[in-house]
């Protein structure tokens, strides 16, 4: 089991899939010679040539739209939007074209398209380079959504995403790129819609995804020191959502905390909380708690940014509140 970084895992996966499927194409800004601003596509241009690794001008609408056109006509495509903050520049193409094309046509077209993008704050990148916008896409029918938290999951899920015949938004967190993890040598796929229990516990369930899983695990470790056993579930894919695993855990712990980095108001947590209370109302011993970013844009200055984005302490506090220990 070699240790690799998140970036290496993604790159390895893209390379393997490009070798496997000679039609697979990558398209996006600065992904060629430069290798992507986070280095994910480094070396791929040299190996697969400019037709299959297409660096584009800054034209988000056309990147998504052309990826869609290519996917509809037989070219499996991975499009990259450098920051999820720029998906609004291509919103019509993502929401009105990519997500609806198959349905509008009565189910007659396959859209083997992955939109890889990157989100999250924590690096002083301010309001237009730090957002977590998954809730916008969660609300829109027609897109699958993947939010991995480890190099292992990223590899297995990216493979599934690429081989999927539906549009998939694959969201990476910028603070995950340098994190390390071990992955097996052989090929493996992780199917969509399977959450992963990253830590077992009996007192409270923490539901999370992407970078917040790391914070949740740290918080859980801290809580264990105080005798509180938190179960940490990494959702891994938001669409489809593994409600079964969630409910199984809720029926065991009877207490739920949902943690995400997107704005709390109208975030994914609201939807998940509703689903739980709709399906397992009588199992709940306390109101479901949600932790998300404060409802403001991400500010630049460090103390301000820290105040806005959820922290390990917030999670600890949230768990204690659920257990009426505050």
């Amino acid at each position: 089991m070699p240790e690799v970084t998140f970036v290496e895992s993604l790159r390895m996966t893209l390379r393997e899939e490009m070798q496997r499927d000679p039609s697979l194409m990558l398209i996006g800004e600065d992904i060629g010679r430069y290798g992507g601003i986070f280095g994910v596509t480094k070396g791929l241009l040299e190996e697969f040539g400019p037709y299959r690794v297409r660096s584009t001008p800054i034209s988000e609408s056309a990147i998504i739209g052309s990826a869609l056109g290519a996917a509809m006509t037989g070219i499996r495509t991975v499009a990259e939007i450098m920051y999820i903050d720029f998906t609004p520049c291509a919103m019509d193409q993502i929401v009105n074209q990519v997500a609806k094309m198959r349905y509008m046509s009565g189910g007659k077209v396959k859209i083997p398209l992955v939109i890889r993008t990157q989100e999250g704050g924590g690096r002083g990148n301010a309001a237009q380079h730090s957002q977590s916008l998954e809730a916008l896409f969660f609300h829109i029918p027609g897109l699958k959504m993947v939010v991995p938290s480890t190099p292992y999951d990223a590899r297995g899920l990216l493979k599934s995403a690429i081989r999927d015949d539906n549009p998939v938004i694959f969201i990476e967190h910028k603070l995950l790129y340098a994190t390390k993890g071990s992955i097996p040598d052989g090929e493996y796929l992780i199917p969509f819609g399977q959450a992963d229990v990253k830590r077992e516990g009996k007192d409270v369930t923490i539901l999370s995804f992407s970078y917040m899983v790391l914070k949740a695990l740290k918080a859980a470790q801290h809580l264990a020191g105080e005798g509180i056993e938190a179960e940490v579930i990494d959702l891994r894919t938001l669409v489809p959502l593994d409600l079964e695993t969630i409910l199984r855990s809720v029926r065991k712990t009877n207490r739920v905390l949902i943690v995400h980095e997107g704005c709390r108001r109208g975030g994914i947590g609201a939807e998940i909380a509703c689903c739980i209370q709709e399906e397992a109302f009588d199992y709940l011993d306390a109101p479901i708690e949600r932790i998300g970013a404060l409802n403001v844009p991400i500010p630049y200055s460090e103390p301000l940014e820290n105040a806005v984005i959820p922290k390990e302490e917030d999670i600890i506090r949230g768990v204690k509140k659920l257990l009426y220990q505050t």
Partner: protein, 324 residues
């Protein structure tokens, strides 16, 4: 020999133009009888562009269409029955009732779909062009859009991408003078939309879009250029929609257009002009015309009957077809 081919082709083109006109007239009638819901955007008056362009295309070539797209569908070889069924929201329609007038797609016939968003199809056309380039075939993409779309950001991004990568895409502006109610002369400050090609270093031509032969000839040149890997072309086809923007347009669009203007354009009706020239050249005779008219009438009637006899989709189907 060539002459014979031309004659057959011209007759076929003429029949297609008539089919489009009749289809639209019938669709308006059905709409007025509340058999079609929502709205339709008739392309009456623009038949020469649809037919001139699509006559150059092969079945495997791609087309991107607009909200005013029935004519382009028919010219690209769509089945009238399934089109009409879609307009009537029936389960036998091209999109099983999910798309309607504005979203007809026929992937088998190379029709990658009509778009409800002005300028929405241009980036997709670029993608189809990429696909052709990567697969190494000699297909082309015909991307239709209206004069209203030329001021959308997607126009700019798409033409630039197609130009830098020399993609086999022909950008066809159906310049019918109005974006809903806004005249093109107020929406741009240059005299010819084709001049925008200068901004991307690609050829741009403005032409008489009501002259089906002119459209055919220019399209042929552009397609040859595209098939030989020389890149995209912008065709600005000057035409006019005789009907309003859509079936909900007050006074069929005469609140923002003058009678004189309308009459002037009727004088240039593409079907009338083509018919006259075909008679003049002895390609069309009254007998042949009669035959064509009957065939067109029958096919439209059959399409309507088929659509009316088709069932509506089962409501539960509404939650199917989203994912593969």
């Amino acid at each position: 020999m060539t002459e014979l081919i031309d004659q057959t082709l011209y007759l076929k083109m003429y029949e297609q133009m008539l089919t489009i006109r009749s289809f639209e007239e019938k669709a308006i009638e059905l709409f007025e009888h509340n058999l079609i819901r929502g709205n339709i955007h008739p392309c009456i008056g623009q038949e020469a562009v649809s037919v001139g362009v699509c006559s150059v295309l092969r079945k495997e070539d791609y087309m991107l269409n607009t909200h005013r797209g029935h004519g382009n569908c028919i010219a690209k070889g769509a089945d009238l029955k399934r089109m009409m069924a879609e307009l009537l929201g029936r389960s036998t329609g091209y999109c099983k009732g999910k798309g309607g007038s504005m979203h007809i797609a026929d992937f088998e016939g190379g029709n990658l779909g009509a778009n409800g968003i002005v300028g929405g199809g241009l980036p997709i056309a670029v993608g189809a062009g990429i696909s052709i380039q990567n697969r190494g075939t000699d297909q082309v993409v015909a991307c239709f859009f209206g004069d209203g779309a030329v001021n959308q950001g997607t126009f700019h991004e798409s033409l630039n991408l197609a130009a830098i990568w020399k993609l086999p895409v022909i950008f066809i502006c159906e310049n019918n003078q109005y974006a809903l109610s806004t005249p093109i002369r107020e929406a741009i400050s240059i005299s010819k939309i084709s001049d925008r090609a200068l901004a991307y270093g690609i050829p741009g031509v403005t032409l008489d879009g009501n002259d089906v032969r002119a459209v055919y000839t220019q399209m042929k040149g552009a397609v040859e250029r595209a098939r030989s890997g020389k890149g995209p072309t912008l065709l600005d086809c000057l035409t006019y929609r005789f009907y309003g923007h859509f079936t909900g347009d007050p006074g069929r669009g005469m609140t923002y257009r003058s009678k004189e203007e309308m009459e002037e354009w009727w004088g240039r009706c593409p079907i009338k002009r083509f018919r006259e020239s075909l008679f003049r050249e002895g390609i069309l005779s009254e007998g042949k015309e009669k035959e064509i008219q009957i065939r067109v009438k029958t096919s439209i009637e059959e399409a309507v009957r088929f659509a009316l006899e088709s069932p509506f989709p089962d409501p539960e189907e509404a939650i199917q077809d989203l994912f593969y």
